[in-house]
Amino acid sequence: MAIAKKAIVWGLFAAGGTLTSFILPALIGLFLLVATGNVPENLQFEQFHAFAASWLGKACLFVVLFLSVWHAAHRLRVVVHDFGIRKDALVANAVYTVAAVGTVLAAFYLLAIS
């Protein structure tokens, strides 16, 4: 016997969950600030665009998007199972395909920012 490949998706799920649990509350806070017209100085469009155009910025944003989308995919797979839909292989293929496409799109659009 050997360690199953489920270790890969669970690893991404766990890493994504840890990351998003820190980032999500900050995002909610920022959205509230922006919604009330109080955009912080460093998060004006020009500054943030410059951040996303730098390689460090691209790398940071990619890690966040990549892990979040794989976390969401695995979470959805487990939720579907808990709701009584037992076609796990089909569900797994579907959600992970979406996550893979999301990963590629994230990379593509981040690279396009200049």
Binding site: I3, A4, K5, A7, G11
Partner: protein, 247 residues
């Protein structure tokens, strides 16, 4: 001490006579300080000697009297009559085949407990004329996990074990983690090959029911999540040719 009349609906099943399990109702005069096991013993001693069930210590040590009481897997020696309504339904532990009445067949989990190598594995020779030393801190890392008494309430509560009988399940996984966390043990990476296989820790979807029902507060759910982290790390170590964790 006041007495209270309790209506016990007990599941009966004799595989040699009955086609399917059915319920039999007994009216039991209970003392207020009785536990459900006392009520069942009253039935056995005074009303119906044919009732079959397991029990031994009556003090939360032996782990034999686990049953479903009003749908919850509990130790009947820990479940007080005063905390229950006048009508109580008693069934054998969920998710197990019934041997007779309230007795379930535990062969599957016994085999699983054995399968996870629940003993200290050493790769080197033991120290001569000396014990393996352990500090208090090293003991505290896993002490909680040694509290398991194999009552199997966690298997009765686990929806994943209900769906997939090949799932190693909470008690056996928690027991394996107890040895993985023991500083005297060197079998962690061998054990992870079994624990993190297809029917190991990944089958757990972290419902957490095992930890909620555990009468000894072992928290198997936490142990399983920690082992998922170990399994994920070990997976990449094996792929990248980094030596496994032997400590």
């Amino acid at each position: 001490m006041g007495t209270r009349q309790l209506e016990l609906e007990v599941m009966r099943y004799d595989p040699e006579k009955d086609e399917a399990p059915h319920f039999q109702t007994y009216s039991v005069p209970c003392n207020e300080d009785w536990v459900i096991l006392d009520a069942i013993n009253y039935v056995k001693d005074n009303i119906d000697t044919t009732l079959a069930y397991r029990w031994s210590c009556h003090m939360m040590v032996c782990g034999s009297c686990g049953m479903m009481v009003n749908g919850e897997p509990v130790l009947t020696c820990k479940t007080f009559v005063r905390d229950l309504p006048d009508k109580v339904r008693i069934e054998p532990l969920e998710n197990f085949p019934i041997e007779r009445d309230l007795v379930v067949v535990l062969d599957d989990v016994m085999q699983k407990l054995h399968q996870v190598q629940p003993y200290i594995v050493r790769k080197d020779d033991p120290p001569e004329d000396a014990e393996y030393k352990q500090t208090r801190g090293q003991l505290m890392k896993f002490k909680q996990l040694t509290m398991c008494i194999n009552c199997m309430c966690c298997y009765a509560a686990c929806p994943q074990y209900g769906l997939n009988k090949d799932f190693i399940g909470p008690a056996a996984l928690a027991l394996a983690h107890r040895y993985n966390l023991d500083n005297r043990d060197q079998g962690k990476s061998d054990r992870l090959d079994i624990l993190a296989d297809h029917n190991g820790v990944w089958e757990c979807s972290f419902v957490g029911a095992c930890s909620e029902v555990c009468p000894k507060h072992v928290d198997p759910a936490a142990a399983i999540q920690q082992m998922k982290v170990d399994g994920a790390v070990e997976f990449w170590k094996q792929r990248l040719g980094i030596p496994g964790d032997k400590s």
